[in-house]
């Protein structure tokens, strides 16, 4: 029944060691988003895919990359995690860019800890 699934729920990685977070969706939505949410802060958009078109936010560090091999899956790669990258990472989808009917559908998030 789950529609946007993020794996794993909790991820611990070492400082500087590449890590990949996964998101999958069963909604067949065109758009997939990645947000970073640090403690007591607003979720911050990192980038999104509209179909195969990748759109990076201007202030997203180069350390963060993303891949979308097909409609269902989207990955967040952190090439060299720093302590400041510890956060909850949220994946979301919408049917189209405006997503008027229901806003976004969010996954449960992956909490990343960097040690």
């Amino acid at each position: 029944d789950a529609m946007v699934i993020q794996n794993p729920r909790y991820q611990v990685t070492q400082f500087g060691k590449p890590v990949t977070l996964s998101c999958s969706q069963t909604l067949n939505h065109n758009v997939m988003y990645w947000y970073q949410q640090k403690s007591s802060q607003a979720p911050k958009l990192l980038f999104h895919y509209y179909d195969k078109d990748f759109n990076n936010e201007a202030d997203t560090p180069d350390n963060f990359q993303s891949r979308r091999p097909n409609t269902s899956f989207c990955f967040l790669d952190i090439r060299s995690p720093g302590l400041g990258d510890a956060a909850m990472y949220l994946c979301a989808t919408s049917r189209d860019l405006v997503g008027q009917l229901d806003g976004y559908t969010f996954g449960s998030g992956t909490r990343l800890t960097v040690v």
Binding site: V4, Q6, R9, V31, Y33, S40, Q41, A42, P43, K44, L45, H48, Y50, L90, A92, S94, D96, L97, V98, G99, Q100, D102, G103, Y104, T105, F106, G107, S108, G109, R111
Partner: protein
């Protein structure tokens, strides 16, 4: 630049009392406005939205919100709070056109605590 402000970090109310969680926005053009709720260690859940039309919108779990264009506000309300409403609430704005089409910009969130 677009922004969303939630002036209160915390709102505390007694069960059964009405609650209000405030949100103001600053955007160019007509915004789409949303409220989301987040429970601990979970993703965000959609509550309600304003796109156009009636300024009072009703959403999930008995919540409603009033769009006020002159005050650029979109306050979340509920006539009678429940302990189970305790959670983190986010206001968000989405622009319907331009280079930021489709992007949701969130406020910092308001922690609502309803005590028995």
């Amino acid at each position: 630049a677009q922004s969303v402000a939630q002036p209160e970090d915390q709102v505390n109310v007694a069960e059964g009392n009405p609650l209000t969680v405030k949100c103001t926005y600053s955007v160019s053009g007509n915004p789409y406005l949303f409220w989301y709720v987040q429970y601990p260690n979970r993703g965000l859940q959609f509550l309600l939205k304003y796109i156009t039309g009636d300024n009072l919108v009703k959403g999930s779990y008995g919540f409603e919100a009033e769009f006020n264009k002159s005050q650029t506000s979109f306050h979340l309300k509920k006539p009678s709070a429940l302990v189970s409403d305790s959670a983190l609430y986010f206001c968000a704005v989405m622009l319907g056109r331009g280079s930021t089409l489709g992007r949701l910009y969130f406020g910092r969130g308001t922690q609502l605590t309803v005590w028995p």
